[in-house]
Symmetry: C2
Subunit: 188 residues, 2 copies
DNA sequence: GTCTATACGAAGATAGAC
DNA sequence: GTCTATCTTCGTATAGAC
């Protein structure tokens, strides 16, 4: 009885990892196979859409994972908690990878991969989740949305700078300045 | 007499363009040749270091261009001017490319290209330039640096989201929230 | 500086056997 | 579901002629 954790799932997870560490251009079927240990012969059985489908599933998986985290934290009604969860995730991934891994959604976006189509939806969902937390705190819808978008952009940008500089400083700077901004924005 | 605008320079410029539009993985010698119209035969005459050297020169060119812009604006002593120049540049590039072009430094960073080594230095120079403007305005060194880093991260992140969502909204949101933050930070 | 030819490897995708 | 060809295209790099 084939468990759920079969070759298909292992390949999607490996694709997400390669996306994060080496970008879309380097995420080839060959490398996913080597990384996941999945068998060559069944690639087009599991992914009839070939490489495109594989990348798209990896984007969806990563997008859902982060969205779930944001949405769960947003339900506490405290925007600071949601932001902290989001930032902590990147902090952990950067540390675990020694500053070589970033965001898979960013990877497909800057490479203009076929799956950029999905990237907009993922960022949109993250934005909606965070905006809901700001809204619950009493901010007007327009400001809540603007702030949510801004926080996500700032953190994503900081993660890239952390990789380039091989230092956590940019993410620390972003965390502090976001906090500073929220002190004023959330003042009731 | 071979002018300065010869095959070498055209290739570097084309490489930067391809980096911005299709990422590091898709910036191959073949594509640079096709895009620049430069002759095949002299590639390794102009670039003894091959593809690696070509990409590195493109990163350096783009990095210097933006740094020069920031540094010139910073000399006015008004941080808002420097930020406006920086944001306007991205706004124009996004519009001109119909949201398909981003930052070449980001491209080599997320692809973990050999030239990531240069990316940290480029971001560092941009940060120093903007921090100088904040310092001239009277902010303490630590805060000036933190704010400079944050602004660059936020704008770079917003540009990526603009590409994914094919909309200028994320950059508009970033511009407004950065302004909001500066209203408090630059209060004398 | 620029040309052609060539070697070599990696990658996506398909076909047909088991 | 998995295997082994196989085809084709693309990419880097070198050699040697002009």
């Amino acid at each position: 009885m084939p468990r759920k954790s079969d070759a298909h799932e292992r390949m999607v997870r490996s694709a997400a990892t390669l996306l994060r560490e080496h970008g879309a251009g380097a995420t080839s079927i060959d490398r996913v196979l080597a990384h996941s240990g999945a068998p060559r012969g069944s690639v087009y059985h599991h992914f009839p859409g070939g490489r495109t489908q594989l990348i798209e599933e990896a984007v969806a998986l990563a997008g859902d994972f982060v969205a779930g985290l944001i949405e769960a934290a947003a339900r506490t009604g405290d925007p600071s908690v949601a932001i902290d969860k989001f930032v902590s995730l990147w902090r952990k991934w950067l540390a675990d990878s020694d500053f070589t891994a970033g965001c898979p959604i960013v990877a497909v976006t800057v490479a203009n991969d076929d799956s950029v189509r999905l990237a907009g939806g993922v960022f949109g969902r993250w934005t909606d989740g965070l905006a809901a937390a700001f809204g619950a705190h009493g901010l007007p819808d327009a400001r809540a949305r603007r702030l949510a978008m801004f926080v996500i952009a700032a953190v994503e940008g900081a993660v890239i700078m952390c990789r380039a500089e091989r230092s956590i400083e940019p993410l620390d700077a972003a965390t502090e300045e976001i906090h500073e901004l929220l002190v004023h924005a959330l003042r009731t």
